[in-house]
């Protein structure tokens, strides 16, 4: 029943053999040494400072949504860096391997990467950037911000939240393992049928790709359930739907997409695995298989996924613009409607990823027009951000700069997106680097929004601001890099350069490839600036301490609690009176109003179970990749056993006594009082409160 394999196989190690370790590869072997030394140094440091207990208790077993969110963001940033290095390798290969006279090293005819290796680099770049950088970064922010914005103590399912994180981490670990054990897939992040079939990709690369994607899809789906449940069921008293902060709305629309689309991906990949492992013919060219079925199934997930990552980014921009314009978001209702319009249309456009497959003109026209419809709500969003600035009082802080950068990139991406939406234009640029430049413009909207949000919400989570000067230096370097890489790339697209070439035949393109290389060098500098930013900010953390309202002009509910946010979020859940609750309270002098008395708080217990199951999913995926059947069975049984054990354990949680809450609150307030004498003294007094407004629910009711 199992398909015969080209290489060796043995019952103990499956396909794993010594020659699968690239110890003689001139790029990977030194890299492995560096990574191993780094890991050893980290372990030594943790041991030296006796931090293992802290790490275990406070991070590895935590179910606190903020800590899980921070770990999501750390995974996202680390993988963003890995993906960036892949991008650097791609650019360097193309500028080097240009023209028949270009030299070649390390066994390549041109450049320094053989075609198969180059294929792995860009495939890993794509997969990592979308599913291991953009997705965890956004999920991380949703994790941290959404529960605070809706006034909840934690997610609806804290344990499930931890499980989602550790499964995502397992996916990240698996793709990193493919660097040093075996190969990664060469057939693009989305997979080409039937190139991924075992006849054309005999190695383990495609298997790594399948199981990485499966793990990430599972992790993200679990997160999606959690965020939807949290928003629907755990809103603070008084928070009706149209008082929901805009980022929460964006998260809701995004996660509805995620939850409904990820199963399509999981199914499609399961069928690919069936083809490769069991010899079925779902997506083969012959024997009844249909390769275009795969392409359809993949993009039925793939396009909604694009909006799953862009909608939270839009939400972030919608939070940043009002704060630094010092006025409410223009057209809140329209913004919400636009988010859901984008989410809805996202289901009807997948075919535009393969207009060139030769569908009839009626089909292509339908998907073309459906695609252009997305431009309407997106256009509305852009106008609304512009009108948020109109009649405002704009501060061009670093966070605002990133948001404005995102807005301009969105205009570029929108213009080129409308070009690609028309089949008559699409035929000329479909597989060209023009498309690559287009979707990088769009995905960079996310990166810009994420860096803006890192700066914007960092003080909320850690209690001190990031350094403005270095944040701006990083912004300008990053933006220069964006222009340097993607303007020439758009030009190359009009010259006809197609994507994924590991050898570029046309020497007339050389100046543009060089310009792209300069651009990526500027990106390198911005990475350095980011590290300097972190160093300087942590060094000056006492000086840059902030109180609850870090920016002085904040608007939504997360700014009502302390910075850093206490693990119980709010000592007493506030009553919501207005859409921009904090702005409203500031206006009425209620920001500093404290509850009359504190009550016991019920919190979930920490558990190591999520970490164990996450680790076991990694083992399972690794064993599947290498076809080590005994290990597959063992890890699967262990996962099921742990799930059963956990289901009998239950978690009654624990109680923080009211007195303890009061003590912690007093401490936090005292700390804030010390800081508040500085930059943004909170206003007292203000306009009188309208009659029935309530700051906190009446205590006897609770």
């Amino acid at each position: 029943m199992l398909v015969p394999l080209a290489g060796g196989w043995n019952p103990l190690l499956g396909r794993l053999a010594l020659d699968q370790i690239p110890y003689n590869n001139p790029i990977l072997a030194p890299l492995f040494v560096v990574v191993a030394l780094g890991a050893l140094a980290l372990i030594a440091l943790i041991t030296y400072y006796h931090k293992w207990g802290y790490l275990w208790k406070e991070w590895l077993t935590t179910v606190d949504h903020k800590k899980l969110g921070v770990m999501y963001i750390i995974i996202g940033l680390v993988m963003l860096f890995r993906g960036f290095v892949d991008g650097l390798m791609i650019r360097t290969q193309q500028v080097w391997a240009n023209g028949p006279d270009s030299s070649g090293v390390f066994g390549a005819v041109h450049g320094y990467l053989t075609p198969f290796h180059f294929g792995q680099v860009y495939s890993a770049h794509g997969l990592i950037m979308i599913l291991l950088a953009a997705t965890p970064l956004l999920v991380g922010f949703m994790n941290i911000i959404v529960p605070i914005q809706v006034g909840a103590r934690d997610m609806a399912y804290p344990y499930l939240n931890a499980l989602g994180l550790w499964i995502t981490a397992a996916g990240a670990a698996l793709i990193m393992a493919s660097l040093f054990i075996g190969d990664f897939s060469h057939n693009g992040w989305f997979g080409y049928a039937p190139l991924f079939e075992i006849q054309y990709s005999p190695g383990v690369g495609v298997d790594y790709w399948i199981w990485t994607l499966e793990l990430l899809a599972l992790g993200t789906s679990l997160g999606g359930i959690n965020i939807i449940a949290t928003i629907v069921k755990m809103r603070a008293p008084g928070m009706s739907w149209f008082k929901l902060p805009i980022f929460t709305w964006a998260s809701l629309s995004a996660n509805i997409i995620a939850l409904t689309s990820f199963p399509a991906l999981q199914l499609a990949l399961a069928l690919v695995a069936s083809d490769r492992y069991l010899g079925s013919h779902f997506f083969t060219a012959g024997l009844g298989g249909n390769l275009m079925l795969y392409t359809n199934l993949f993009w039925i997930w793939g396009h909604p996924e694009v909006y799953f990552v862009i909608l939270p980014a839009f939400g972030m921009m919608s939070e940043i613009f009002p704060v630094f314009s010092e006025k409410p978001l223009f057209g809140y209702i329209t913004m919400v409607a636009a988010s859901f319009a984008i989410a809805g249309v996202s289901w009807l456009v997948w075919l535009h990823h393969f207009f060139t497959m030769g569908a009839g003109p009626e089909v292509n026209s339908f998907f073309s027009i459906a695609t252009m419809l997305v431009g309407i709500p997106t256009g509305v969003k852009v106008f609304n951000w512009a009108f948020t600035m109109y009649r405002g009082r704009l501060t061009f802080s670093a966070a605002m700069l990133w948001a404005i950068g995102a807005l301009f990139l969105l205009l570029v991406g929108g213009l080129t997106g409308m070009m690609l939406a028309i089949p008559a234009i699409n035929y000329m640029v479909h597989n060209s680097v023009f498309v690559v430049a287009h979707f990088h413009s769009m995905l960079l909207v996310i990166v810009y929004a994420v860096f803006g949000s890192v700066i914007f919400w960092f003080p909320k989570v850690f209690g001190f601001k990031l350094d403005e000067y270095w944040a701006k230096v990083m912004f300008w370097l990053f933006s220069a890099g964006t222009v340097g890489v993607f303007v020439p790339m758009y030009m190359l697209g009009f010259m006809g350069e197609t994507r994924r070439l590991d050898y570029v035949f046309n020497t007339a393109w050389h100046p543009y490839l060089v310009a792209e290389e300069i651009g990526i060098f500027l990106y390198c500098l911005s990475v350095v600036a980011f590290f300097v930013l972190l160093y300087v900010s942590i060094r000056d953390r006492v000086k840059n301490q902030v109180g609850q309202d870090a920016w002085g002009t904040s608007r939504s509910l997360e700014w009502l609690t302390h910075s850093p946010v206490p693990f119980y979020n709010f000592a007493v859940i506030p009553h919501i009176n207005e859409r921009d609750e904090v702005a409203w309270r500031r206006q009425h002098g209620l920001v500093q109003k404290q509850p009359e008395k504190y009550l016991d708080i019920h919190m979930p217990n920490n558990t190591g179970m999520a970490l164990y199951i996450g680790a076991l999913t990694f083992v399972l995926a690794f064993a599947l990749t290498w076809r080590i059947w005994w290990l597959c069975l063992g890890s699967l049984v262990a996962i099921i056993a742990l799930m059963i054990v956990r289901s009998f354990q239950g978690d009654a949680g624990y109680i923080i006594p009211a007195a303890e809450v009061e003590r912690m609150e007093k401490e936090a307030l005292a700390r804030e009082a010390r800081i508040q004498t500085g930059a943004h003294p909170l206003p007292a007094g203000g306009r009188p409160v309208p009659g029935e407004a309530i700051a906190y629910e009446r205590q006897d009711k609770l």
């Binding site: 075609p115 012959g286 060139t356 256009g379 106008f383 213009l415 699409n426 010259m495 006809g496």
Partner: protein, 318 residues
């Protein structure tokens, strides 16, 4: 800092403009320099789209920059209104402009899709000279070469496409093993070439010249070298060329195609003429693939292809 930034921006703009200028002289913007009817039509729609969308995007950009300038805190250029967040008039405008633009573009998208429909491009078929004989070409993509079969002449050419000027050419396309895309930027847009399936495309050029064609979708290790020159020649030259192919000693049968389709990276751009081709090769291949025939790629051409590349480079050194 501000001054430095301005200098840097100036340098950047100068560099990018000079890149553009270099390009304009060398005429290397193939998409803007179409030499075939299909590519010209594509460019036509590109211009319409960019004019409509560019107008909107341009105005929005200027508007945003103006707001940024005018409402800069502390400069006191514009009046601050801390509560203004809604306007029915503006709502109508912000929804209206994109709706109208998309309405216009939808009309052009619909029209254009029929004009360059690869199966029946009305820009070619509507204006076809009833007496002009179209050339038929069966395009077969293998791992990683192109085979162009001319069924009217019972001949084939590997990795070179030659067509007479002012004559419509109609393609049937399929692949022996994996999916890729057929693309000649200056003549005709992309069409997927899929194993066990048949797609179509068409081309008409009024310009004699040599244009680059290539596989524009990744299909394995040999993708980057999977190119073919497309020569549009005078009708006289085409006759001579056919005669030259016909004098080649090579022929292509079902059996020799089986050997031809084995994975091969065309690093040295070899072109081969086949004076005779067994009839029905295209349909025969389609049937074979549908019945499960594959040409597997060995691990030596995937994971460990260093040795393969070196061997191949040595074999072809003149």
């Amino acid at each position: 800092m501000m001054r430095q930034r301005k200098t840097m921006a100036l340098w950047g703009i100068t560099l990018l403009t000079s890149l553009w200028a270099v390009a304009a002289n060398a005429n290397i913007f193939w998409i803007f320099d179409p030499k075939g009817v299909m590519a010209e039509t594509n460019l036509h729609y590109l211009i319409i789209d960019v004019l409509i969308m560019g107008g909107i995007v341009g105005i929005t950009t200027l508007l945003t920059i103006w707001f940024m300038w005018k409402y800069h805190k502390g400069k006191n250029r514009g009046a601050y209104d801390p509560h203004w967040s809604h306007s029915n008039v503006l709502e109508v405008v912000v929804w209206g402009i994109p709706i109208i633009a998309v309405g216009f573009l939808s009309y052009f998208a619909y029209k254009g899709t029929f004009e360059v429909n690869p199966y029946n491009p009305t820009v070619i078929t509507k204006h076809m000279d009833p007496k002009g004989d179209p050339v038929e070409v069966d395009v077969i993509a293998t791992d990683w070469q192109w085979l162009f079969v001319y069924p009217q002449y019972h001949m084939a050419v590997a990795n070179e496409l030659v067509l007479p000027v002012n004559t419509p050419a109609f393609f049937r396309l399929t692949s022996s093993d994996v999916t890729t895309t057929f693309f000649v930027p200056q003549l005709v847009g992309m069409i997927d070439v899929m194993p066990g399936m048949r797609t179509k495309n068409a081309l008409l050029s009024h310009n004699i010249g040599t244009y680059q064609g290539y596989a524009s979708d990744y299909c394995g290790a040999g993708t980057s070298w999977m190119r073919f020159e497309t020569r549009i020649v005078s009708k006289e030259d085409f006759k001579n060329w056919v005669a030259r192919v016909k004098s080649s000693p090579n022929t292509m049968t079902y059996a020799s195609f089986d050997r031809f389709a084995k994975p091969y990276i065309n690093v040295h751009q070899r072109v081969v003429y086949y004076s005779h081709v067994q009839d029905g090769l295209f349909d025969h291949l389609m049937m074979e693939v549908m019945n499960g025939k594959t040409w597997p790629v060995p691990p030596a051409m995937t994971e460990n292809m260093v040795a393969y590349l070196q061997k191949q480079a040595a074999e072809h050194r003149d």
